[in-house]
């Protein structure tokens, strides 16, 4: 039908103007995290768990007799976490540390990484429960200088091969093997790495069981 009614024309024009005004002023709410940094740090009451404050010890120990389960928050990209296995405690860089963790890197206080003389032997293909004793000819190794030919500039860590890397999923999975670590005090500890991810799925949480063993 033909429009001859100017009231309708006025109505249309008003609607149009209203619409354009609404559109020009509309702007959705900001859905960012409260800290505005975009990292989400310190937000969300539901996000309770591993990251609950900077002063907390990044290492937790749980007794699972006969083993000790240790979880190291090694998520920091620059700060190593140093662990004294003999005393079962976290120490600083100058302390009598045995193993240290930075993301997926595991260093021993020996070789190029330290002067504590710590070294490790690798027993492949077994669970920690199946570990009995080292073979008499077991070879101990420690952290060695970087080999130019490999694909990184890191030292050749004794623990360097603890994981399998899936190039498709970027997931790190622990190999089935037990490390026997000779500590700064000469004690032996059998160690099996179980996981690299926290319960919330965050990478950088080194989860391993260990116990003191006889030679």
């Amino acid at each position: 039908m033909n429009l001859r009614d100017h009231r309708l024309a006025t109505l249309l024009a008003t609607l149009l103007a209203t619409c354009l005004t609404l559109a020009s002023t509309a702007c959705a709410e900001d859905i960012g995290f409260d800290d505005e940094a975009g990292t989400g740090e310190g937000t969300e009451g539901e996000d309770e768990g591993a990251d609950e404050g900077g002063a907390e010890d990044p290492v937790t120990h749980t007794q699972e007799p006969p083993y000790t389960r240790t979880v190291v928050d090694a998520t920091d990209e620059s700060a190593w976490i140093y662990l004294d296995l003999d005393a079962v405690e976290t120490v600083d860089e100058d302390g009598p540390w045995d193993v240290a963790f930075l993301r997926f890197n595991v260093a021993l206080n020996g070789g190029v990484s330290g002067s504590g003389g710590v070294e490790a032997a690798i027993v492949e293909g077994i669970e920690l429960e199946d570990y009995a004793a080292l073979e008499p000819d077991a070879a101990f190794i420690t952290d060695e200088p970087e080999v130019e030919e490999d694909d990184n500039d890191d030292p050749e860590y004794a623990f360097g091969g603890w994981y399998d890397y899936d190039f498709m999923t970027h997931v790190l999975s622990p190999k089935l093997q037990v490390y026997v670590v000779r500590s700064t005090e000469g004690a032996l500890f059998a160690v099996q790495i179980d996981d690299y991810y926290s319960e919330a799925g965050t990478s950088g949480y080194m989860d391993f069981r260990w116990l003191a063993v006889e030679g």
Partner: protein, 675 residues
Amino acid sequence: MLCLALTASLAAPPEATDGEDPGAASSASETGEVDGEAGAEGRRSRRARGRQEARDEVDPEVREIEVSTGTRTSRDAATTPVATTVVSREDIVNSGAETLDEVLEQQGAGVQTSPGIGGVGATLRGFNPEQVLITIDGQRVTGRIGGAVDLSRLTVENIERIEIVQGAGSVLQGSDAVGGVINIITRKPDEGVQAEAHGAYGSRNTIDATGRVAGGMRRWQASLTGGLHRSEGWDASPEDEATTGDGFQAWNVGAGVHVQPLSALRIDLTGSYLRRNSEGVDVTNGGAILDRRNLTETTDATLATTWIDGDSQLQTTLHTNIFRDQFRQDQRGDDALDQYQPTWDQVLQVGAQYDQLVGKHVLTTGVDLQFEWLRTDRLEVELGGSGPDNDRAQRSRAALFVQDEWVPSTAPRITVLPALRLDFDSQFGVYPTGRLALLVAPLDELSFRVSYGRGYRAPSFRELYLAFANAGVGYRVQGNPSLRPEQAWTLNVGVSYLPTKNLTFTASVFDNQLRDLMTVDLVAEGGANQLQVFSYVNVGTATLRGVEGTADVRFAKYFGVEGSYQFLHARQHGSDQPLPNRPAHQTTFGFRFFHGRWGTRASVRGRIQGERAFSVTEDSAEFADPFATIDVRVSQRFLRYVTAFVGAENLLDAGDAVVNRIAPRSFYAGINVRY
């Protein structure tokens, strides 16, 4: 910049309309099937006829369907030298589609939609979504996420028709039109009063409610459009926390004014705003559960003027588009993987185009200017810099184009369409493109088309300046400011045959050679406590080659069948591995019934997608299983203004959570009211 176009409307093949089945075929472009809703397009047709009349060359059988994407000037779809598939308003309404991706799903085998990181993208004859340009009324749509424009955010209530042009279109459209252009033509208000409402409810609490009111006087018209859309997500793998399809809520408004203050001058002012919120749950390979949300807003405004003076026409356009996306990822139980990434992308386009009819030539020349600004946390424009502005990028382009549409003969019809374009890009300099298209129609019912041209895609801001680190697994990806544009030389040869008004056949052969494809590659090994560095590099070359055929047959007055098939050979050079996500075989089929007097319409449409490479490495490829989808729909008109409809989609319940992420079987019903 010159762009020569020859008015193709000198004579047209016989009308292919079936009064009982108007616009029934969903992709009748090359056949010139008449659109039952000429609407505002009628004005353009009248204008075109007016120009013909001035030359005493009126053809009373001239078609109502005009297209503009392939030539940038309005053309009869049947005689444009650049084959154009048209999806009319009536096709869209009858398909039951609510968004652009749903419309395209029902097109021929050469069009494929696929869900990706940034939403649902369109693949044309093997060209992936970032190589397909999406435009609205000729103005490019911004806001690509992961390279693709999310077609599911483009709702259909204000779409008059969709034009799909296969093959390189950069010569007229510039960057991104490597493998084709999908141009959305919006509805224009007409005189009088028009009002319509649409409501539908379906599985997963899907609600679509849209409305439009339009009207005006002889010299001016206005329209107002709005819509609400929502749907719950879906999950093809309930055994884990991850969802497969996102739930969403969206609303949009749009308005347009058409004014003709002088008989020769037309002014169009349009604007729209869309807000869309989508939510889903991801589970990382490390087991983290992430609640993901995207809040997307787009705002468009366009001012277009057209001055028609005898045999010439001058068009100017001013267009701006603002895209804002907020991406939020919230890790359950921790905040290590929390992310918030706001993105602002603004495009300003200014264009002018002059068309001049000279004898048997239509010369088109024009200039396009484009300015784009993008701001996102993932950008690092000055690598190593830490200034406040290094999360922002901007660039500008200027282009000159010229096209000559020359019709040396109208019986038989021969059209030659050479075109050249020169782009000046502030990032990579001068880039020339060209195309030559030819139409030969020895008979009214038989026409051949050939086109050969070069398309290109300029590196995106992401590819130039991305700075993304995944320290958890020891790598980072950074952009490469030295990237060259991706390019393709495309050859399309096609034939369309309409022996009777009830029979339509088309066939085409295409060969596309792609060069300088951008891929991500390792450029630096990680150092001590350093990350491996991946970046974008120009290394890839590939071939997309194949054939496509379509058929549409109407019979027994009320019935029609349609089908299409595409064979695609998509190979990377060097490794000779298949390109991922390109099935070698695709086919579509449809059966439809329409009884005009009863007001009854029914259709069954299906698509079979063959096996396709899913994960490809240098020396191996994993393949995804083939699958088939079938959709059915029945509608009944009553009380003159009201149409009720019911339908089902994906009746075979195809799809899974990993390789074929398509929505499960769903049902819907609704009502359309049109006055």
